[in-house]
């Protein structure tokens, strides 16, 4: 009787532990042509962790795999929190940027993770090795999977090649919110990118001063999603900051060509027009944009402010725009770059 009760209590624990899973986990999440193919990014470096420091070790592993020379010891002061005996996801992301790499948090789901591995990107994952009520957070790097054995391969803790049943891995990953990070070289795209998430990551790179890396990322985004105005705006702003105003204007024009409802593009185009003395064209550009019905309040405020500043800068004796203002910047940009 008591034994039966104990078994009843323990049976779910067995199932949760993944011991009882029989149906394959990996195969249904693989495309038909890759259903039998094992992936093993065996060249991925390994950094055995010291006590509590799986964060620096796992981050060093993915940074090294992307060509950065860095050791876990270098990363301790950047990502380790002594009193928490661990590292925060946000700080892993931030530290990645400071090495001029683009941190991309992959979409949730095992199929996304497997796709990154097929593209050759090791994935830094957060796992909860405990339970939902007693959490044990751990970082590891997934470097491969074997569909026939239904296992994933990890660089984890002090084990260079930890082979874990896919069902058990999935449980630990699900309990950590399916959080996974790939570290990309500037200009490299993840396997299944979302335009919005990628552009946000590129803008974050730019905002901490990694303009070169950000420019390459915007360029890759513009090539992959030519109809995304933010990518063109990003390229334009980088050119503008580097003092290349004609190239900036070219990209701003591209931004509003692909999306005439994109107010930041019109705003920045007006600004560079005013800078080359085309004040009337700048004002009509802004007025046209402000007349759009779906402009958000925040953007409307910014555009009105730009309009005031341009009017204030216009010389009192200003008669009218020169004829050249009706066109793109003269001699602006190599043709065929659109």
């Amino acid at each position: 009787m008591r034994l039966g009760l104990l078994a009843a209590v323990l049976a779910p624990a067995l199932v949760l532990g993944g011991c009882a899973s029989v149906s394959p986990v990996l195969a249904p999440r693989l495309p038909d042509d890759a259903r039998r193919t094992a992936v093993d990014l065996d060249a991925t470096p390994f950094n055995p962790q010291t006590v509590h420091q799986c964060g620096p070790a796992a981050l060093a592993t993915v940074l090294q795999a992307s060509g950065v020379e860095v050791s876990p010891a270098d990363l301790v002061s950047r990502v380790y929190l002594p009193e928490r005996q661990g590292s925060l996801q946000t700080e892993l992301v931030a530290a990645t940027r400071s090495y001029a790499r683009l941190p991309y948090v992959i979409g949730p789901g095992l199929d996304t993770l497997l796709a990154e591995l097929r593209a050759g990107h090791p994935v830094l994952v957060l796992q909860n090795l405990g339970f939902s009520f007693n959490r044990v957070w751990h970082y590891a790097v997934v470097v491969g999977y074997l569909p026939d054995d239904d296992v994933v391969i990890l660089r984890s803790g002090v084990t260079r090649r930890l082979v874990m049943p896919a069902g058990r891995f999935l449980r630990t990953w699900r309990l950590a919110g399916y959080w996974g990070l790939v570290v990309l070289r500037p200009g490299e795209l993840p396997a299944t990118p979302s335009a919005t998430a990628y552009l946000k990551a590129a803008a974050d790179l730019e905002s901490i001063g990694q303009s070169r890396a950000a420019a390459l990322a915007y360029g890759a985004a513009a090539a992959r999603w030519p109809s995304q105005p933010t990518a063109w705006l990003g390229l334009g702003n980088i050119h503008y900051q580097a003092g290349n105003v004609p190239a900036a204007e070219h990209n701003y024009r591209q931004a509003v060509r692909v999306d005439p409802g994109f107010l930041p593009g019109w705003n920045n185009l007006a600004e560079v027009l005013a800078e080359r003395g085309c004040f009337d064209t700048a004002i009509t550009t802004l007025d046209g944009a402000l007349a759009q019905p779906d402009a958000t309040d925040a953007l409307r405020t910014l555009l009105l402010q730009t309009r005031r500043e341009i009017l204030a800068r216009r010389p009192a004796a200003y008669a009218a725009d020169a004829p050249a203002c009706g066109q793109s910047h003269p001699g602006e940009y190599p043709a065929g770059n659109e």
Binding site: L3, L6, A7, L10, A13, G17, Q49, V51, H52, Q53, C54, S77, R78, L81, P82, E83, R84, Q85, G86, L88, Q89, T90, E91, A94, R97, S98, L126, N128, L129, G130, R135, W137, H138, S156, G157, A202, A203, D204, E206, S207, I208, Y218, T230, L233, N237, Y240, Q241, L263, P264, N267, N268, E271, T296, A298, L299, L302, Q305, T306, E309, I310
Partner: protein, 128 residues
Amino acid sequence: MRRSNIRKAGLYILIFNFLVATFPQQALAGIIATPSAIAAQENHESLSHLKELLAREDVRGQLVQLGIDPAVADQRVSSLTPSEIAQLQPRLDSLPAGGDGVLVVIGVVFVVLIILELVGVTHVFNKF
């Protein structure tokens, strides 16, 4: 007295760093920077500069409390974007901090195995 002066000096340095760090964006009078464009498209309320400055100082203080050297904390805070600062500030001490725990888990598994063995569900140890 001296301690508070040092704290004050730290705050001034932080404000200075902040102004220098944001200077390129300030200098672009009429240009909408790409991060702002993304935030505005998503219609996010972004923190005002003053609020962001205070939030940064708060996160920095929390990092120091969690055992980070003040100079290093400055560097770590300056590598965070405004939205990351806003995300960390209210719950830095409760967010998941991946450490290890491999041993803890092995312990749990071991206890379960022993119980199963005692109860007679498994016969793992008979093989030894």
